[in-house]
């Protein structure tokens, strides 16, 4: 396996994890384990209806319970205002308040908070709160959202975010219709609960008027500190966030949401330390959830099975209060990035509904791999070529690079084809086909599934929270090495991998390195685990900082022993001067000098032995992989047994194989759950139907086979050469498994529409070619009435100019509905005649434009944007008095709606 850069001694070793001695002996520190003097406990009163208007809340009985300290409703909590924001620190389009005031928008929506001496007492009191709610018809499914009136007052529809164009443009439509083969795939993806084993938890303590300390289970204490500081508008208040051990997150704990914010505000108002630990019923009822989406993909192939063009339509259920309104543009960005496809167009929309808000889940854009790779297998069967061959003909191999994807993504340094080739070298497909044929004679149905993909990892610099990572490394006077990292582990083992990088580069024993993280008071800002980034960026930072520190040690040693720095080496914590073994000194001895005897230091060398480096990596580093799995389907019961699973991945330099394989395997287990077991259905009234782990089925040990690994690693272009592996398993796993099941079922028929999970009953639907699975609980795809689809179509036709000349000079408050939710900006127009120039001001900064043309109140101009990527935005606006509306054509992203009023 590739150890990557240099003569690695520790990078690449399967070392035991630093965290494990603590965790195995029950000495981890999870948020609920923390107790502070005077601490009180919180429980919430929650809505039992999915949508309704609160008429009356009676908290008197609850307040009278002995041991109850107080009961807060939205009105009382509002005395400590908080502005809840998306993961991108952008204000939410729909205001989100910690407690429901006027409207409840989902089952479990908290409307009151009880503070008591124990959790049990708080629950006793919460049960006594009487609420009268005028129930309204809930919007539950995507079909409901398209057909029904907006759930949020003041919005013009249930569209939370949208991008793209309804219909493929003419030339593309022509290509699709004239293609030799036209294959369509539809995926209906169920709703998933991230279900970390540790539920959400927070302990908020206000320490005097100027200090706020939070113990919270999260993905980055630095990110939480930043988010809370902005949300509370308390730059002058010292906010410290501590999160030592976290029991998994998988995207759920990116930002504090309603309950956490309620506890923070309540702690601020009462001045008492407040703890809330979410129980599993709350977690499965009222935590944010993920994935629920529908996508159709349409691809035209030529006679040889080469792709000509494609159009995709994606809709996802954002729920009522998503952690960022999302139409999931990434699905389309990466759908074909690894494939040679001349042209792709799409429509992508996120919809509001009276269900739990959408949050991230391991590989949030994973739909792209699922629908693409299952469609390719379907195509292979229809066209009559081998599934491996159809990929070989369309994948972008190293020899084809650098290339630019049909979505304008620079494609370089990816190896999905090479991974696939290594995979089929390892797995004898021909032999399997023989075995499969034999088995079918005995009525045993084996299936082989393969899939290939690439994944953007280690992303930094394109979005506000996505920064580089900081490593601060020091050799203590004792000679031990400590590092403060901006990374954070929810099980990732960063304290282990970062220590390996540092020890490797510094030349000290792994045992001598301690990494501190999980406290916003240590290290610098980092967004933590989000987008398979810490190994790549944190690892690079740790390596470079260690190298800088190593140079400092060498400079000191060279000075002390009148040697040249080049002649100094460090190994196992001992500094050697070549050719002078008698001069070898422990690194500790040098440290003592560096800290305590300034006179002996060379001129210009600062005392102490410390170094820090913030690594700003390339905007993204791509990881590639190809997986295969073998299943047996029981034709009598529809049960699926996974017999083998092989991962052939290129994750660059492997810091610790145990950690890397652990990340991939964990993602694959979640993939198996998504395909076979996990489901969070809602009934027609919007009640989540899997409120316990008896109904929400997580994969057990019997569901996951031993994974075989074929490491096909090539170092990336980052410091250290790592590539991210955090999410990959959950992205490539589902299509791999679905393809294997579809292959096993091929004697019976196709899985026409792929509805997840593939329960035994749904598998029997295919085997018996009849409806065994019964009435589907999923959305009945009712076509939305035109009025309810205020999509791109809503862009204004040029209308007759209002009477008199239009003056648009001055400031306008405008909102652009981008794929990442609405972006607010202030635009200043300056006209001279019909020529218009102006300035855009947004939180991201300011930008000038010129060359605009104003005719009859219709303004058209181009805005050239550099970040997150080079793109020209073509604005087409119609002014009407003090109002403006129109659209912005965003290159290959299609059009987005713009609206605004005079400031």
């Amino acid at each position: 396996m590739s150890a990557g850069v240099g003569s690695a001694r520790l990078i690449g070793k399967r070392l035991e994890r630093k965290e494990d001695a603590r965790l195995l002996t029950g000495h981890g520190q999870f948020t609920d384990d923390v107790v502070v003097p005077g601490m009180l406990h919180v429980a919430f009163a929650r809505s039992q209806v999915a949508r309704g208007r609160i008429v009356r809340i009676d908290t008197e009985a609850a307040r009278d319970v002995p041991g109850v300290y107080g009961v807060l409703t939205a009105e009382e909590l509002a005395k400590r205002p908080i502005t809840m924001m998306s993961f991108f620190f952008a204000p939410t389009e729909v205001p989100v308040t910690p407690l429901a005031g006027e409207l409840v928008q989902y089952v479990g929506d908290p409307f009151a908070l009880v503070i008591a001496e124990s959790r049990a007492l708080a629950e006793d009191a919460a049960a006594l709160i009487e609420v009268e709610i005028e129930e309204l018809d809930p919007v539950v499914t995507l079909a409901d959202a398209k057909a029904m009136a907006p759930i949020h007052p003041g919005t013009d529809g249930n569209v939370a975010a949208e991008i793209g164009d309804e219909e493929p443009e003419e030339e593309m439509a022509a290509v699709l219709t004239s293609a030799a083969f036209r294959i369509k795939q539809k995926v209906i993806h169920q709703r998933i609960s991230q279900a970390p084993m540790e539920n959400r938890a927070i302990l908020a303590t206000r320490e005097g008027p100027e200090e706020l300390k939070l113990f919270i289970t999260c993905q980055s204490p630095h990110n939480i500190a930043r988010w809370v500081s902005l949300a509370l508008g308390l730059p002058s208040t010292s906010i410290r966030v501590i999160s030592k051990d976290v029991g998994g997150s998988f995207g759920l704990k990116n930002t504090p949401w309603k309950e956490e914010c309620a506890v923070i505000c309540a702690a601020w108002l009462t001045g008492r330390p407040l703890k809330w630990t979410e129980d599993r019923w709350e977690a499965l009822t009222a935590s944010c959830q993920a994935r629920e989406a529908e996508m159709t993909l349409d691809v035209g192939f030529d006679e040889q099975g080469r792709m000509l063009a494609s159009h995709g339509v994606y809709d996802c259920n954002n729920g009522a209060y998503p952690q960022g309104a999302d139409s999931n543009i990434a699905v389309h960005m990466f759908l074909w990035a690894a494939y040679k496809l001349p042209a792709y167009s799409f429509l992508s929309r996120g919809w509001y509904s009276n269900t739990n808000g959408l949050a991230a889940y391991r590989g949030p854009w994973a739909m792209e791999s699922l629908i693409r790779e299952t469609l390719l297998d379907k195509a292979a069967r229809k066209i009559g070529i081998d599934p491996v061959e159809i990929r070989r003909r369309n994948l972008v191999y190293l020899k084809d690079q650098p290339a630019v994807s049909s979505m304008g993504i620079p494609v370089d340094d990816i190896t999905p084809g090479e991974c696939l080739d290594k995979l089929v070298q390892y797995f004898d497909v021909a032999a399997f086909r023989k075995e499969q044929a034999e088995a079918r004679k005995e009525g045993r149905y084996l299936g082989l599934g393969m899939a290939a993909y690439i994944e953007p990892t280690g992303s930094a610099g394109s979005m506000a929270p996505m920064t580089g990572e900081l490593a601060q490394v020091r050799i203590e006077p004792t000679g031990k090495v400590t590092a403060a990292m901006s990374t954070h582990s929810q099980g990732h083992g960063t304290a282990t991998t970062m220590a390996q990088c540092i020890a490797d580069r510094l030349g000290v024993p792994y045992e001598d390195v301690t990494v501190f993280e999980g406290d916003s008071a240590h290290g610098g800002f980092g967004p933590g685990a989000a987008g398979s980034r810490q190994g790549v960026i944190g690892g690079g930072a740790a390596i470079r900082a260690a190298e800088m520190l190593s140079d400092k040690v060498k400079a000191l040693a060279a000075h002390l022993y009148n040697a040249s720095p080049e002649s100094v080496t460090i190994a196992d914590g001992v500094v050697h001067v070549s050719g002078a073994p008698e001069m070898s000194r422990s690194i500790g001895e040098l440290a003592a000098i560096a800290y305590g005897e300034p006179d002996r230091l060379p001129p210009g060398l600062e005392t102490g032995l410390e170094a820090q480096f913030r690594y700003q990596p390339p905007p993204m580093t791509l990881t590639s992989a190809a997986h295969a799995c073998v299943v047996e389907v029981d034709a009598d019961t529809g049960f699926v047994k996974i017999l083998r699973w092989i991962s052939s991945e290129d994750c660059g330099t492997v810091i610790n194989p145990g950690v890397v394989e652990g990340q991939i395997s964990g993602g694959l287990a979640q993939a198996i759950g998504m395909v076979l077991l996990e489901d969070m259905p809602y009934d027609a009234r919007g009640n989540p139907q899997a409120a316990t782990f008896k109904d929400y089925l997580l994969p057990a040990i019997s569901d996951v086979p031993m994974i075989e690994f074929v490491h096909a690693n090539t170092p990336s272009k980052t410091i250290g050469g790592m590539r991210g592996v955090g999410e990959g398993g959950a992205i490539i796993g589902p299509p791999t498994l679905v393809n294997a099941i579809a292959d096993a079922l091929s004697p019976f028929g196709e899985i026409e529409d792929l509805r997840l999970p593939l329960t035994p009953a749904r598998v029997l639907d295919v085997i018996e070619q009849r409806n065994v699975s019964g009435p589907s609980q999923a959305p009945a795809g009712a076509p939305p009435p035109p009025a309810a689809a205020p999509a791109v179509a809503a862009a204004p036709e040029p209308v007759a100019a209002p009477c008199g000349p239009v003056s648009i000079d001055g400031d306008w408050n405008m909102v652009l509905k981008t794929p990442m939710g609405p972006q607010a900006m202030v635009v200043t127009f300056r006209t001279s005649g019909s020529a218009v120039e102006g300035t855009f001001n947004s939180p991201e900064g300011s930008q000038e434009f010129a060359g605009g043309v104003l005719e009859d109140g219709r303004l058209r101009f181009d805005l050239k944007v550099e970040k997150p990527m080079k793109i020209t935005l073509k604005y087409d606006l119609q002014f009407d008095g003090d109002a403006v509306a129109g659209k912005c054509k965003m290159g290959m992203f299609g059009s987005a709606k713009v609206s605004g009023t005079r400031a």
């Binding site: 006793d124 259905p681 899997a690 316990t692 057990a700 569901d703 029997l764 018996e768 009435p775």
Partner: protein
């Protein structure tokens, strides 16, 4: 997820326990293993005023031989029953089923009597009691009575047990040396409740089936006895039975539910196959012997 407040008592005798249940007038709930009750308490779906712990009642644990059968005391741990030699010899079907009850950790605490008394229609213990024709011993301040398991179950979690009554034992009748055990269960994960399943016993005499006891799991609001199939089996010789016809009879008494794990149609379709597969296997076992 903390229980509502309740009082706790741990009587040492049946009389003591019955007196408490009687005084409580329906406000008491009995806890034995608690492996189903505790989740209900934590979820506040069960809110008794008094919890009566029967684990300390004299003679409430253990397996004994009685006239014509084997008696299991109600608070006998499932783990203990699973490894009990008397049960292995006289009630092998129960032991087969016990291996599928929950998990190692819950069997260490869960009891046979608790599961029988609760009447979960998808669980193994109630189905065994119905299939094997067990008798349930019941006590209250009004005296004692026995009830056939087949008259005990009324609906999901609904039994003929009065609020003041206590299950004091379950007697499984002998099925005779060399009787055949039928057990098959389909669950998505080990320890999950069955999507469908069956348990039963066939007593043989003179090469013919002398007695048949069969019941379904998860095929109706109660553990459903396959009365028609049982009747049809008696008097037949194993190698001559028409398995397909029997499975039709076996399905007649079922009324499975739709839920998001499996449809009623799935339960019927696969239950039928499970039944046929199990019976064919049993027949072959006999032929081989």
């Amino acid at each position: 997820m903390k229980p509502a407040p309740f009082d706790y008592v741990a009587p040492k005798t049946v009389a003591e326990a019955c007196a408490i249940l009687s005084e409580a007038g329906g406000g008491a709930t009995v806890i034995a293993g608690g492996q189903t009750l505790m989740p209900l308490l934590n979820l506040r779906m069960s809110q008794p005023f008094i919890l009566v712990d029967v684990n300390h009642i004299e003679g409430f644990s253990g397996v004994t031989r009685v006239a014509g059968g084997t008696r299991v005391a109600p608070a006998t741990r499932q783990a203990a029953a699973l490894n009990d030699e008397t049960l292995a010899r006289y009630v092998p079907a129960l032991v087969r089923a016990l291996g599928h009850v929950g998990h190692h950790q819950t069997r260490n605490r869960g009891t046979v009597g608790g599961s029988v008394a609760l009447g979960e229609p998808a669980a193994e213990m109630p189905a065994c009691a119905v299939a094997l024709g067990a008798t349930i011993e019941i006590a209250s301040v009004r005296g004692t009575r026995t009830l056939a398991a087949r008259d005990f179950y009324i609906g999901p979690y609904m039994t003929a047990l009065e609020p003041d009554e206590l299950v004091t034992g379950i007697v499984y009748p002998d099925w005779g040396e060399g009787h055949l055990v039928l057990f098959n269960e389909l669950a998505q994960r080990p320890g999950d409740f069955a999507l469908t399943g069956m348990v039963g016993a066939l007593a043989l005499g003179g090469g013919k089936i002398a007695r048949a006891g069969l019941a379904w799991m998860a095929m109706g609001p109660i553990p459903v006895a396959m009365t028609e199939a049982e009747a049809a089996l008696v008097g037949q010789s194993l190698d001559a039975i028409d398995v397909a016809a029997l499975s039709e009879l076996a399905l007649r008494t079922t009324a499975p539910f739709d839920d998001h794990h499996a449809s009623a149609e799935y339960r019927r379709t696969v239950g039928k196959r499970l039944f046929e597969k199990t019976l064919r296997a049993a027949a072959q076992v006999k032929e081989a012997a």
